[in-house]
Point group: D2
Chain length 303, copies 4
Amino acid sequence: MQKFRGVYAILATPFDEERNLDIPSLESLVEFEIKAGVHGITILGILGEVHRLSDEERSIVTSTVVKAANGRIPIISGTGASGTDVAKLYTKQAVEQGVSGVMIAPPRLVKPNDDAIVAYFSEIAKQCKVPIIVQDEPATYGVYFSVELIARLAKIEGVRYIKLEDPPTPMKISKIRAAVDSDFGIFGGLGGLYCYEELKRGASGIMTGFAYPEFLCQIYGLMESGNPEKARDLFYKVLPLIRYEAQPLVSLPIRKEILKLRGAIKNSTTRPPSTKLDSADRKELDEIITTLRLTETIAELVA
Amino acid sequence: MQKFRGVYAILATPFDEERNLDIPSLESLVEFEIKAGVHGITILGILGEVHRLSDEERSIVTSTVVKAANGRIPIISGTGASGTDVAKLYTKQAVEQGVSGVMIAPPRLVKPNDDAIVAYFSEIAKQCKVPIIVQDEPATYGVYFSVELIARLAKIEGVRYIKLEDPPTPMKISKIRAAVDSDFGIFGGLGGLYCYEELKRGASGIMTGFAYPEFLCQIYGLMESGNPEKARDLFYKVLPLIRYEAQPLVSLPIRKEILKLRGAIKNSTTRPPSTKLDSADRKELDEIITTLRLTETIAELVA
Amino acid sequence: MQKFRGVYAILATPFDEERNLDIPSLESLVEFEIKAGVHGITILGILGEVHRLSDEERSIVTSTVVKAANGRIPIISGTGASGTDVAKLYTKQAVEQGVSGVMIAPPRLVKPNDDAIVAYFSEIAKQCKVPIIVQDEPATYGVYFSVELIARLAKIEGVRYIKLEDPPTPMKISKIRAAVDSDFGIFGGLGGLYCYEELKRGASGIMTGFAYPEFLCQIYGLMESGNPEKARDLFYKVLPLIRYEAQPLVSLPIRKEILKLRGAIKNSTTRPPSTKLDSADRKELDEIITTLRLTETIAELVA
Amino acid sequence: MQKFRGVYAILATPFDEERNLDIPSLESLVEFEIKAGVHGITILGILGEVHRLSDEERSIVTSTVVKAANGRIPIISGTGASGTDVAKLYTKQAVEQGVSGVMIAPPRLVKPNDDAIVAYFSEIAKQCKVPIIVQDEPATYGVYFSVELIARLAKIEGVRYIKLEDPPTPMKISKIRAAVDSDFGIFGGLGGLYCYEELKRGASGIMTGFAYPEFLCQIYGLMESGNPEKARDLFYKVLPLIRYEAQPLVSLPIRKEILKLRGAIKNSTTRPPSTKLDSADRKELDEIITTLRLTETIAELVA
């Protein structure tokens, strides 16, 4: 099985002005991410508005992205569902469509129930031919993954990664590292807000939708090549934007706005219910990008 | 537009032993409900395990039930979704498949947002040719419908009903009745646990999955014909079972177990994650049914 | 250590019209409960509006009730708190004031954390000379007690009981009984709505604020004396009121209203924020009491 | 009435090694904050572990801090409670003890209920002689303050401020500014993570427990004196620490650790249940402080 490491871009799902899937933008977005240097792409996550897509649209997004990537980097698809059977169906379809891995959110539970979560992942894993990434996202799914539960899940054959969105992530990484074998991969999330600490604590990579992925790739590369101070400096440099993007409710529209400004997608449309940026948001965003000289810095990085 | 009143059975979705849709059982269940005297059927609700069905399965359930009912009673379909666009899609498909009404759960919201809820229902209603029932189900959807919000929704053309699962429902009915025009229909829920009080306070009917719908039909009929005391006596008589069925987590497996015992469906299979009855549950259920002489009483009612 | 079994009345805290503690009513309420035949009294629970009392008022309630009971029945006091240190303080004070046991709600947790709960109960138990009852009340405290956690807590010296408000309670009782030693006591709650099943499954008693405790005492007595059928009949008889009292939001005002009607307290005042009964509530309540002939039945029971 | 503006330090409550109140540290902490240049101090907030203090301890903290400040800067005390009566009691006591303002958290509500919140604040305000600050802290209290609700509260005489912890705070400030009169004060929170944007959008100040308050004071001063670019530069400079402190669960122990390192308090003890820092946390903290040259920078600022 393939090994996932590095920067995995969580992909937004582009829509046109009528809120239909914008396939050309989806293709150009994949190109944009690959050009930015990401090591992989994760589709159908929260940022991808997966909960506002029909089953058919999920399928279209998957096939479009797999085809656009054309094997250059691994594609991971979100295939969790409220119930086991639909999660199995989504997983089966995604694997048939050619994804390299699946990221699986917990099922809907009326009450906390670790045994039910273990049963869910076990049953999905039994039929799944690609590595499974557990999606630890309590803010959205209302499910808390204790380290004990993660250790149980890590013993299931095929469950090889976790993506953390449960703060404080640095501390959680240390606890998981102490509890599971070293092969088990951990991706940090939270928009990259703690990516430097996460990597230092043993994260396998950063999986997030930050709209300037070039910087995350640089940070990751510097860490890998033994230059933590340089990584830290770059991290601190872009932190004002990472922080700005991390705001609940407006994170998605901010990122889509940046992706549009950067030419990666045509429209910044999000599907309702979602929050619209106000004029001050746009000014603040512009101020941050200008002040941090992000465009110029990327040009320098490339050069 | 058709007027919905009376007992609306929320339909379970029968599965076979492999957890696939059991179409013959779905058809026989429709027949069972019609024979029991219900005034309508609601499919794809929580009891119908809608959150554990794929889009394709939703469609199959809808077409099967509409065809089986064959116009004898109205079929209402749950067509809400996390996002507006998918809710519109589900609604459009269900209407094309022949349902008489749609029951719409609120969208997924990161924070309380009445304006977003009004926008969601307004946009769905604009394209919807059948009456809309608002699904007030805070325990599942985490959305609270204040009376002020309900009054706003009731002004949207096409939004004509609410189904209440937000206790105390009797008090809420009185408040809604005082705030909206008398044409607006209110269905009680909560498994029928307060159906007598709900009807006295002006409910249009009872919409629930109680597995002995014959009694609810009798209770409703007695209320309609001006015999509240007889309605109350019958309600009190079956209350031990109504209460027993109302237990969180096991409500669904209890009802499927009864439906199987009564021959309405072939298997009591539920999709995971869901709770299995233990042996004491089955004994308790049997004790209640036997003690209350439910089988005999129905035979007498029919005779 | 004393053994708690039977019907434990959760005591309301009576207020006068200015919302001050009504000490004479508190004393007469204790007398009312003892006369009704309860085996013990639990003060400072949710029904006692403990979260709307100052520390000084908590202390006054405790000393008043202990003095009024005068050793005739055990008094259990709610002494949990958001933090360990205050819970220890409350526990120490209550024990010094003469209570026979303490009921301890979980601490406030930002995230689920079984170890923190075990540490909290362990530290309290270490200094506590009376038995501890774990208060399993997820609806109020947002803390879920899994059977695994309960088994861990049951191993702490001094933690000898649990009071369940986590439905379905009958099933949970069976699971706990299978997981902990038989000395560990389990009290059912939920307003008595499942008390018959709870007792059959091995509950040690019923701990709730039902305003006609005489019936619970009869039901418990019939179960103890080997007359489950008679117990069940009586339970079914009063079920319409048990159910009516069990409504969220209005449960407290309904019970205070009944206690006032029955002469146990002078005013039905509740402290804000709390819900006021509407006129229909009062009529419904009156209808239930009249129809069930509760007053007459109690007179017969006594005679 | 006094006008609150600028940087208000939310005060930690120092404990000794036995977890008792450490009065000398509390006094030195007040001195530390005043020396740092804060415009006011807020006691008995979440960071002050108010929910883990007894009523008596609350009173001791208040009197100690008021006495230590000795009128040099305003002291604001958290006096909200689960119920109206206790909130009134806390408020009355705090005002008698000499605080200049009170910060009031919402009451405990079983369901969302704007009317109950308005009634709660109205009743408290009626008897309160100092300005009231509404504490908008949904993560802790589970109560969401819509802009409509805030506009209603702002009309209550005496309710003159809101402290925001409901992200995205910049957008919320703009919405509140458009909805209420310009006299109504708004304090940003969230550990200062968006303080630059908050101040630009019209915040009256920053109310948070950031352990290097000198920087917040500088940022605020630069904004006030018309130097937003310099304010922004300084904000960006200290952002790595602001971000680090903002982590859920460990925010409190990190801040107490820094306060100890800086000599403001003697012990970093927190009351349980609370999270302990691990060794990597301490290293990360040290790395941030060293890298950012915080100690040296403050020396330069002072010089």
